[in-house]
Amino acid sequence: MPRDLREPDTPSNTVSYFVREAFRRIWVTKRTSFVAVAMIAMSLFILGGFVLVADNMERAVERWQGKSHVNVFLDIEAAPDQIRAVDGFLASHPDLHTRHFVTRAQALERFKTYFVNLSQVVDQLDENPFPASFEVEVTPRIIQSPGFPAEMKALRSMSGVEQVQFDWEWLNRLRRLIDIVNAVGLTAGGILAVAAAFTIANVIRLTMLTYREEIEIMRLVGATERIIRGPFLIEGILQGAIGGFVAVGLLFGTFVLAQRLLAPSNSLLWSFLFIGFLPWQKIAALIAGGMLAGWIGSWLSVRERVTEEA
């Protein structure tokens, strides 16, 4: 009676064989493998760059969202009575009573701190151009309340008030910008990831051509398709993983370098872009994305090859 041929094909030592072979094949075809790894690294670097910018903007929004401000700028020539009236108005409204008065001199000092390079220009002026203001802390819930626009309108119409600004609109704009950054990043990164997957597919195809004779021998001595395909699939995944690690490394290097070069002192303009590097979950997702692209690429060529042989 012949033995059952449907025995499970799960050799315990095949996984180590797959990994060993995959590393060896990457080394043998190092030039083409380098192209595949570079493609993956480049696409993940671009995608990661967008994610990093969006992530920092998101964090900035979260910070500001927690304590949004309404800035009530007063006339440069506002009389003390008018200032007291505005203060009284704010104090009488429970939603607006957490306030802080910024004098003209304080406003000038702040400007000099934020924009170090422009401080000399300001010093050359005859007169302090900055108005005094009230900074009113409000929560997002208050800003979105139905009575808030009326309160702002009343405030604007008071004598001695030059302008009323609140950053909620600005935050909304920033949110839309984050969405755009995310969308652009995902689109560009996605397109490049697809291109990288196809590059890996071609690299694996070349490797398979190199090993064509060997694959035939393997088939003849009883190797299953799983054993034959395994090292190629692992090769693709490894290339993707290496590309992912390279991308994260480059991204971190660029981030640290940019932080040093572009964010001196407390420059408001840049500081919100450098709150921090990507959280580990997003780093892991980037590397996993590289591995996925590698796996898809190698699977495409392995599948094609098997179909050819069928």
Partner: protein, 236 residues
């Protein structure tokens, strides 16, 4: 063990490699397959390994109908057959040991056993001192013996060889034949394709003669068949 029923193999309309071939090789037999170049010997061996399919007829090997065999069963079927190819088909980038170790990986033999088993089988073909050599560093005869060692490592039920003594000097050919004889004594069914008539005559084994794709003669054996014993390499 090997049964051909009216097997015809055509590669195209004008070339018929085998024409209505019927024969049976029983378990434990040692059979020669002979004929001039182009007689269809290699085609017949490829059919046994199911490298190719017959155009007509049925082939049964070790109780399995190859025509009905599913593609995913093929690797497991091939593991029961030890095949020595005419061109050896050794993996050149692998050492002798790695060529054998790969088969053991396929057979799910624990890695710690690989060296021991490879050494045993190489000792049987008197090549244990070449464990770490690469095939291109070996002579034709040595490569042939590595190919035989690879075929033997699984103690196969069926051992098939395509011109295993081709291009070898008579002494070496005799040595190779001795290895096949030993495998036969251990119980493997052996089918050996060769055009070396002297070799066949000396052995006195049963012989199938092919000519232009037809089986034209069957010469009976003049020696007794041995009974199968347990595999020497412990993998049967």
């Amino acid at each position: 063990m090997i049964h051909f029923y009216h097997v015809t193999k055509k590669f195209d309309l004008y070339s018929t490699a085998l024409q209505d071939v019927t024969f049976h090789v029983e378990k434990g037999e040692f059979v020669f397959l002979t004929g001039a170049s182009g007689a269809g010997k290699s085609t017949l061996l490829k059919l046994i390994l199911r490298q190719i399919r017959p155009t007509e007829g049925q082939i049964v090997v070790n109780g399995r109908n190859l025509n009905a065999m599913k593609r995913n069963h093929l690797p497991f079927f091939r593991r029961e057959i030890g095949m020595v190819f005419q061109d050896f088909k050794l993996i050149e980038r692998m050492t002798v040991f790695e060529n054998l170790s790969f088969i053991l990986t396929v057979l799910n033999v624990a890695p710690r056993e690989h060296k021991k088993k490879a050494y045993q089988v190489l000792r049987a073909v008197n090549l244990h001192h070449k464990l770490n050599a690469y095939p291109p560093q070996l002579s034709g005869g040595e490569q042939q013996r590595v190919a035989i060692a690879r075929a033997l490592i699984n103690d196969p039920l069926v051992l098939i060889a395509d011109e295993p003594t081709g291009n070898l000097d008579p002494d070496l050919a005799q040595e190779i034949m001795q290895i096949f004889g030993d495998a036969h004594l251990r119980g493997s069914t052996v089918l050996l394709a060769t055009h070396d008539r002297d070799l066949i005559q000396v052995s006195g084994r049963r012989t199938l003669v092919l000519d232009q794709g037809r089986l034209i003669e069957e010469k009976p054996a003049v020696v007794e068949r041995p009974a199968r014993t347990d595999g020497v390499f412990g993998l049967s």
